[in-house]
Amino acid sequence: MRSPRPPFVWLLDKECRELVVSRSWWVLLIAMPPLVGVAFISAVRTYAEVSGLNGTSAGVGEALSPLIGVWAPAFSACELAAVFLLPFVAIRLVAGDRQSGALKLELQQGLSPLARIAAKALVLLAGWLVAMLPPLSAILLWRLYGGSVYAPELATLTAGHMLNAGLTIALAAAMSALTEHPSTAAILTLGVTVGTWILNFIGAVQGGFWERAAGYTPAAMVAEYQHGLLRLDTTLVALVLILAGLTVAAVWTRLGVQVRRRVYESLGIGALAAAGIFACTFLNASWDTSQSRGNSFPEADERALARIHTPLIVEVHLAPEDPRRVDLEHRALSKLRRVMPHLQVRYVSATSIGLFEQTGAGYGEIWYDLGGRRTMSRVTTAEGVLETIYSLAGIAPPVENDDEAFRGAPLAAPPKGAGTIFYGVWPGVILASGLLVRRRFK
């Protein structure tokens, strides 16, 4: 009599068992609470001080958002773990079957290699979710202190870290399948991660295409989610990369297939993924889920800007590493792109740092062209940029609505009990669970 459970469920069960006995996963679990604890305690303390604790002038914290002040640093432990610990968990789970010879038995079952890799990825994501329990428990602690919690921004932040973990898992799976030995897979996985950091660096220095490409690296993607910005293009690019990584892993996990065919299939997957990514870059939809609307102009301004249908061209004479350019991009242009999808921004500079261009008459100029009407400004603040555009469009700036403005959610409470929870309770619970599992499997 055959088992009533479908083979895929058996596979999930097997992968769960393999994950639970994996030491690398327990190392990941035990490392998370102290990492989160350090970041959370430090963030809450600073937040409390800025909010008026210990005699600091109250009111400074009005502009503080828990997302930026507490959650982004507290969840940064996930980013560290995703780069330095999660790859080893994934490599162990994917390469283990080949190392032990189990792959030769399992592949005779006939289940598609993609389903096998999908089972591993699902279990790894579940394992990652367990590893994210300490940062998620920090939310409960924050609530107990009386802190404000805005669910959409926290959901976005969590989704960003899940996507980042998905990228790591897909990359590690592909490398494990491509290489014969897990140590080689680990080196290559970390190599690709370092490669994305180099891309970020080149993007910051060179600007242009590199800057655009750097916007799709995991680090850049997580940074956006940390600010509560949910962009359709970056999300889809991440999903395409995850799918491509897992498919390449499936191609190279198959047995009995000539290497040449696998190479062609991998190249095909690479080409499809590249086309998919290219197509995704044309999608402009994005959602600002932050309570502070930190990624958007005030609603009145957005309504006013939406009425301008003439294409706007902005020519910025600032070097990539000039702080004014960074200010302009983050405070104004990134917000403007969300409201005016047809906005064209051209950066013009002869050098990367701009130090020796300062003497040039045109350096620092920002030219605005709205349907042939041109004006120049050197202001890089959001207010200055909006004022210039309104003036060029010939529309009156909207009246500021104080009720709409985010007043912040200050909290002058010390991180009471957080040390006990993150340095004592969580490690204790994880150690006890580890011992129980070990006893069960021995």
Binding site: S3, E18, V21, Q108, K442
Partner: protein, 238 residues
């Protein structure tokens, strides 16, 4: 006939591991693949099971070519020297074989008793000795439901008593119609246990048949010294 193999070739770079290998497998027989170390026995099994891609050659069942995908319902291959799912207990591995690999649940207890696995059921596979691991692997193979079972070195790592018990267990499964194709490098073991033989040397088939058939073949090739002993026949033909 269960299946026949024709013109199988496999190269690793410049090395010809298998060269025009052809033979046939009858339903319900115990067929021994005999050859010295490095003859290409494991490579042949891996090519047949679709674990390794072969360069050319076909496998036919009922006159029809069977692709790699189709072989999954025809044969199951148990490799030598592997320790699958090392952290999982033997009992779980047998259940996984039944559940995931579509094994026969009705045979579970019988296989456990035949291979003396009961005491090993709670032990993780990675902690087993070589012989214990071999028995666990044989248990996995015997539980599968394909008509043909290919086992690479079934007696490797077993002591004399265990080898005899295992041989008896394998024979009982063959008696119920299961076709066993066993790769054995110890010719004396093979001679005691198998019905027919495929002799493999340096990737080539040197002969196929029962001991008398092989002896006749050796005689026909002018090897006057070949007697009814498989070792002598093997030496004469290779």
């Amino acid at each position: 006939m269960l299946f026949e193999v024709h013109g199988l070739c496999k190269r690793f770079g410049e090395i010809r591991a298998l060269e025009d290998v052809s033979f046939h497998v009858r339903a319900g027989e115990v067929l021994g693949l005999i050859g010295p170390n490095g003859a290409g026995k494991s490579t042949l099994f891996e090519c047949l099971a679709g674990v390794l891609p072969c360069d050319s050659g076909t496998l036919r069942a009922q006159g029809q070519p069977v692709g790699t995908g189709g072989r999954r319902s025809l044969l199951f291959y148990v490799p030598d020297g592997i320790a699958p799912w090392p952290a999982q207990p033997v009992g779980w591995a047998l259940d996984f074989t039944i559940g995931f690999l579509g094994g026969r649940a009705a045979l579970r207890e019988q296989v456990i008793d035949q291979l003396d696995l009961r005491a090993l059921l709670p032990q993780p596979i990675g902690t087993l000795s070589k012989g214990q691991r071999k028995r666990a692997l044989l248990g996995i193979g015997l539980l599968t439901s394909q008509p043909a079972l290919l086992i690479d070195e079934p007696f490797e790592g077993l002591d004399l008593r265990q080898a005899r018990d295992i041989a008896s267990a394998l024979r009982s499964h063959a008696g119920r119609g299961r076709t066993l194709f066993l790769s054995i490098h110890q010719i004396a073991d093979a001679a005691r246990f198998c019905d027919r033989f495929v002799l493999l040397s340096s990737g080539r088939v040197c002969g196929e048949g029962t001991v008398p058939e092989l002896a006749a073949l050796a005689a026909a090739r002018g090897a006057a010294q070949a007697g009814p002993d498989l070792e002598e026949v093997f030496l004469a033909l290779t």
